[in-house]
Symmetry: C2
Subunit: 191 residues, 2 copies
DNA sequence: CTGATTTTAGACCTCCGGTTCAAGAATTCG
DNA sequence: CGAATTCTTGAACCGGAGGTCTAAAATCAG
């Protein structure tokens, strides 16, 4: 009963995610969201409550899709180091090949909202922790497979790689590709 | 002739820098600046022209003081690795010991303004490049002194260390001290 | 068809950020 | 001392951001 929605909520959340990712949370106005989604402001508020709530859903979506991407690439064929390199290179390439360099939404959220929005910051932090877990798991898998030394502390190494990745994604805003590739190579030389 | 300024412009710029650093560019309102500096809004505009121009001066000041700090710490006694560790630890500690974790202003500027403010982004980028130069110079000094191997490519290593530093300063927003120290140790194990 | 129910679109409202202004205050010069 | 000059400040202006509301439109049950 009642009039049916003229849009797919999941699609709108995905479009909102792109907009927040590109322009930042504060930098995205309700008018921007309406334009990006093709849904009028009033309808967005009716369906999602507020800009902040829509952002929560966008950030959750980002976490899920990012996690799936990482799992997919890391589980490909080859050694741990090869897979991790492939993943890092992919992220750098995605950032540099897009129309705008916008880094990582989780990281952007931490930078923009830490200290001002506890919940969003925690969600973004969890996304980073999840990434560390995936890296650690892949390194341990490499140790079982024999392509990573037993002496490597997988947890610490994963932590370090996440730091490198964070740095890469900041630097991808202004540095060029060869520089970023050199950073990846240097970071991976450590284990 | 004319009425003399009732404040020291350099002091006001320093106070503005602190405010921009803590709250971000967009997050800092003229009212915030007036409160932080003790100078009325109108006077700020009279003296500095606009929020944006004041920000330029604040960012320049940040670059100069940051550069001096780095030079000071890096030129202390000890090996290249010891001095770089001391510098990284100092930055992490400064961030974690402050009332709010606010990372690095240059990096925050890149994250917030890349793609929207070409000049500010370039200035921030130059600050990072300057840091890389300082790191490379210190590594080369270590090579001459014999505490760093001749086979190390100072430029690449410096680039990598800057990436680690960038990552550290993002992660310092939400991760705790032991984690950050482990990252420093792992990064420095590479040369 | 009718009534109940939900969505829609955009007008509307309020608040605040960035900026300008007008009037007064402090100083130097003649 | 008066004039010229520069600084100070609170008030006022303007636009846009975030959010609300309403009348119309679309659907379905009966």
């Amino acid at each position: 009963m009642g009039r049916p929605k003229s849009f797919e909520p999941d699609v709108v959340v995905a479009q909102a995610m792109e907009t927040f990712w590109t322009k930042g949370y504060a930098g995205t106005s309700p008018a921007d969201l309406a334009e990006a989604t093709g849904v009028a402001k009033g309808s967005l508020y009716h369906s999602f409550g507020s800009k902040r709530e829509l952002f929560t859903r966008a950030l959750d979506l980002y976490g899920r899709t990012g996690s799936e991407l990482a799992e997919g690439v890391l589980s490909g064929p080859g050694t741990a180091k090869e897979r991790i390199r492939a993943y890092f290179v992919l992220l750098v390439d995605m950032d540099l090949d897009g129309p705008v360099r916008r880094g990582c939404l989780a990281q952007n959220t931490v930078e923009e909202l830490a200290g001002r929005d506890e919940e969003a910051t925690r969600t973004a932090h969890r996304i980073e922790e999840r990434m560390i877990e995936l890296l650690a798991a892949r390194i341990e898998q490499g140790q079982r497979a024999g392509d990573v030394g037993r002496d490597v502390d997988a947890g610490t190494q994963a932590l370090f790689l996440q730091a490198t990745l964070s740095g890469l994604r900041v630097m991808a805003r202004t540095f060029d590709r060869p520089v970023l590739y050199r950073i990846i190579d240097t970071a991976l030389a450590g284990f």
